[in-house]
């Protein structure tokens, strides 16, 4: 391969693109849209994190300012978990707008995570959101098609193709040169975006940690592979088409099918094949299982009657008042353990159904590199499905600890005898409230995140290899006329 002619062809392609001037309006629009995307990503990140941190602190303040009281009142008083945005969510909103942001955590009851952006949306969200990632994933490929459809086809139309070939430059050099030239054009858009992104990341809470750096590097690498694929495909389609119009129509059809129609269709198929239960069905199933296992609210429940007998026997006493700990605290601790266990089992099942629904789209990454980059980008930005599940899990884990801590305080510190009509009600010191630390959301590590997306990585890499392989293969097959 002649490196000189490859570079020459790349340079020519680049210069020709600027000479035709069609690139300038495209660049104008892209700069504007990308700047807006960067601004609104940053704005949304700072606004929402400020709001959520504020209310997390407010809620904590009210928690700590509670006076001495019975611990079970505090278990009902409960706490909140507000979902903080990951710094990289400035770049890729991912599922952020569709997942709930705040959940009330109390004893006995798992509440839903509420107030997603989508629930406040007027229906415009259906058109998508402008984020840097969205522009890079959906719009930039279209721009690549726009700029690249002429790459080889126009040389054929003008008759210059034969001249180049007759001068001793091979097809391989032409295809590689054109692809490089196109990649160069892509860099005009891509490099400014990643630089802006870096600047924005330094303003994030916690700054540029090693984890953020790794994610950033991962994002840059994945997008580069993606653009190699798109650029090579563009040049190849241009090379095998009879005219530039033909090349353009083919590329536009590819874009519409792979970027617009296919993702929606695969997700619709997923929901069709794996039906998820409605909320009422889900709750009824949990309730049913709970009643079977033992309902601490049912006075005649066999499970809890049996529990009582065995506790009394173990401590060799005849009534619960004689036990060395508060018996109702004990019953609630057992009840919470049982109900949480059952609830979590059902929740896990539900999440598995969702994973299966998403599975069809995920598998489609093998035929659609757009889906691969979309999933990878979300995962690296901490705005994917796994991140959401992790938040839900952490919030639930905190809720459980809170409820059980209050039950244990009750067992330890509350007298087993009910206060008489003239006695003061049982309370414990407010110091205990402060001792129980606030909810703190931890983002998933990049390792766990990537492990869940191995298929997308595999697909993207395979596509990269296949497109370069296709280029070499076609360079031996194409004809000049």
């Amino acid at each position: 391969m002649q490196r000189g002619s490859v570079l020459l062809i790349a340079k020519h392609f680049w210069l020709n693109t600027f000479r035709s001037r069609a690139i300038f309006p495209v660049m104008g629009i892209m700069v504007f849209v990308l700047a807006y995307a960067a601004y609104s990503g940053w704005k949304s990140y700072t606004t929402h994190n400020d709001i959520r941190m504020h209310y997390q602190q407010e809620a904590r303040k009210s928690w700590e300012s509670n006076p001495d009281k019975h611990p079970h009142r505090m278990a009902h008083y409960g706490s909140f978990a507000f979902r903080l945005k990951h710094a990289l969510s400035m770049f890729d909103f991912g599922l952020e707008s569709f997942t709930g942001n705040a959940v009330f955590l109390e004893a006995h009851k798992q509440n839903t995570v509420n107030f997603s952006e989508a629930s406040f949306s007027t229906g415009l969200l259906r058109f998508g959101e402008i984020s840097m990632a969205m522009i890079l994933q959906v719009i930039l490929p279209l721009v690549i098609f726009f700029l690249g459809f002429v790459a080889v086809a126009v040389e054929r139309e003008n008759g210059t193709l034969k001249i180049i070939l007759s001068q001793g430059t091979g097809w391989k050099e032409i295809l590689i040169g054109k692809s490089l030239g196109l990649m160069g054009l892509v860099m005009l858009f891509f490099i400014p975006v990643i630089l802006v992104m870096l600047v924005l990341l330094t303003t994030a809470d916690g700054g540029l940690t090693a984890d953020v750096w790794l994610r950033y590097a991962g994002i840059v690498a994945c997008y580069l592979v993606f653009y190699v694929i798109i650029s090579v495909i563009t040049v190849l389609v241009s090379a095998v088409s009879s005219s530039s119009k033909d090349a353009l129509i083919k590329l536009l059809a590819v874009w519409l099918f792979f970027f617009i129609v296919l993702p929606r269709t695969t997700q619709a198929l997923g929901s069709y094949f794996y039906a998820s239960p409605s909320k009422i069905e889900f709750e009824a199933a949990v309730e049913k299982e709970l009643i079977q296992a033992g309902d601490s609210h049912n006075p005649d429940d066999p499970h809890f009657r049996h529990l009582k007998d065995s506790v009394l026997q173990a401590h060799q006493v005849s009534s619960v008042e004689q036990l060395p700990f508060n018996y109702s605290g004990f019953v609630m601790r057992e009840g919470e353990k049982l109900s949480t266990h059952i609830y979590n089992d059902h929740l896990k099942e539900l999440q598995q159904i969702y994973q299966k629904q998403n599975g069809i789209t995920r598998i489609a990454a093998a035929v659609n590199p757009y889906i691969a980059i979309k999933n990878l980008s979300m995962t690296l930005s901490g705005t994917d499905f796994e991140s959401y599940i992790s938040f839900q899990g952490q919030a639930e884990e905190y809720r459980y600890r809170l409820a059980q801590k209050m039950n244990e305080l009750q067992m330890e510190l509350i007298s087993n005898k009910k206060p008489g009509p003239d006695d003061k009600p049982h309370t414990i010191s407010r110091e205990h409230w402060k001792e129980f630390e606030d909810f703190k959301y931890k983002f998933t590590s990049i390792g766990t995140a990537l492990r869940s997306e191995w298929w997308s990585i595999f697909s993207l890499v395979s596509w990269g290899v296949a497109s370069v392989g296709g280029l070499v293969y076609l360079s031996k097959k194409v004809k000049s006329i």
């Binding site: 849209v33 209310y55 119009k245 619709a268 909320k279």
Partner: protein, 449 residues
């Protein structure tokens, strides 16, 4: 002449394939809507059955204390979807159409979300509205972008110009043949939807269809305008697809970001915290002030006096009431904010036919945000009604068995959309007229050579 144009047009393989494709996608979208309705109906049936069981079980366990029983009992209110909802699912997949509330503090319950898969929400519904708003314009573009340029590129243009009386007339005839096929496809799909979903033929359905029709006329006018520039096919295809990307993706998405950033809703979180504090802090306060506030809200209950006991249900429900009363301000601010979003969106939509069509489809199909807000308002009224029924029974210590529990089946809310024809149709008509005039002016200057 006409029959020749028709023959030439439909003989093209691309035309047949793209028309077939849109018909298939249209049918699929209607089936997806049908499935959505079936799922909703199943959930409604489930809720009805469950409510009956749930009340019966609790009544049999807690047959002495009305106050304790009502702590547990939940009553459902259903925002039942109309069949038209299937065509434009809108916000219905995010916002639950079923409320299941106890008579305790409402603000802690009514914003509870449905269970959903966020990935599915993100990818959006492939409903009929999507097919009309996104895909049909692409069909329009595919059919018209080379209306004139293909003649030039094939070298038939001069021939046409010499043979036909008016070049403009010829182009209009070509355009009308394409428009006809597009409208036949749309009509077929509407007919299929009407039969499959047993849609009632009424003003709402008419409005939906007229809107869809005019929206496509808008795209035809726009394409015809671009065609009238007399550039080559590649240029037209590039331009029209760029316009599509801007109108169907970039502009609406930008407005969405703008609205979300201009009107964040911290009031939602403050409502959430306030309703908890408003209720819970009363446990640590003297009972007097709580009761005074409660009686100030409901003077009719002043006749009930608080017993001397430590705990009483009168006091308990008064405390619960305080959760609502004290977070009322925050909750109203939240509502206000959401309505501001609604207003900003629909104003912006007047200038963007894609958004306009989407928001109006949602309005007509009862799947808009506004519909959900009305449902939330109605939930409040429903909750209040249940309170007013049970409060006296609880405070009097009425017997559980004295109530006819059979009567508590789920209640329904439904809202008939108001159709403002002027507001619906005018923005589109203005655009259509504008592009048609521009095209006509361009074609006047048409040169054959």
């Amino acid at each position: 002449m006409y029959s020749l144009i028709v023959k030439q047009f439909i003989r093209s393989k691309t035309v047949m394939v793209t028309t077939l494709l849109i018909l298939i996608l249209g049918v699929v979208s209607i089936l997806i809507g049908d499935q959505f309705l079936a799922k909703q109906e199943k959930a409604i049936a489930e809720v009805t059955r469950h409510q009956q069981e749930h009340i019966a079980r609790n009544v049999s366990w807690i047959d002495k204390e009305m106050g304790l029983l009502l702590y547990y009992l939940r009553f459902a209110l259903i925002n039942s979807p109309g069949n038209l909802t299937a065509l434009s699912i809108g916000q219905r997949d995010v916002n639950s159409g079923i409320q299941n509330v106890t008579i305790r503090n409402l603000e802690g319950q009514r914003y509870d979300t449905d269970l959903y898969n966020p990935t599915s929400l993100q990818s959006g519904n492939l409903d009929f509205g999507f097919v009309i708003i996104y895909l049909f314009p692409l069909l329009v573009i595919a059919f018209t972008y080379d209306l004139l340029s293909e003649e030039k590129e094939k070298g038939t243009w001069r021939l046409v110009a010499i043979q036909s009386k008016s070049v403009r007339g010829y182009l209009l005839k070509k355009l009308s043949v394409r428009a006809l096929l597009i409208f036949i496809a749309l009509l077929l799909l509407f007919t299929f939807a009407t039969v499959k979903l047993s849609l009632a033929i009424n003003e709402t359905l008419m409005a939906f269809a007229v809107l869809g029709f005019l929206y496509l006329v808008f795209w035809l006018a726009l394409c015809f305008w671009v065609v009238s520039w007399q550039r080559n096919s590649s240029f037209n295809a590039l331009t029209l697809l760029s316009v599509w990307v801007v109108l169907a993706i970039l502009l609406p998405a930008s407005v969405n970001n703008l609205v979300a950033n201009l009107y964040p809703v911290p009031e939602a979180l403050s409502t959430m915290v306030k309703q908890r504090d408003g209720y819970h802090e009363k446990w640590d306060m003297a009972k007097g002030p709580t009761m005074d506030k409660f009686f100030a809200h409901y003077p009719q209950f002043e006749k009930y006096t608080l017993p001397d006991d430590d705990f009483s249900w009168l006091w308990y429900y008064a405390m619960q009431q305080m959760g609502d009363d004290e977070s009322r301000q925050q909750s109203e601010a939240m509502r206000e904010k959401i309505m501001q979003r609604e207003k900003a969106s629909s104003t912006a939509a007047l200038f963007m036919p894609t958004m306009h069509a989407q928001l109006l489809f949602n309005d007509l199909a009862g799947s808009s945000l506004e519909n959900h807000m009305k449902f939330l308002d109605h939930t409040q009224a429903f909750h209040e009604k249940m309170r007013m029924y049970f409060y006296p029974k609880i405070f009097e210590g009425a017997s559980v068995n004295g109530v006819d529990w059979q009567q508590f089946t789920p209640e329904y809310f439904s809202e008939k959309p108001e159709i403002n024809w002027g507001q619906a149709v005018l923005p589109l008509l203005v655009f259509i007229a504008g592009f048609s005039i521009l095209a006509a002016v361009n074609l006047k200057k048409i040169k054959v050579a």
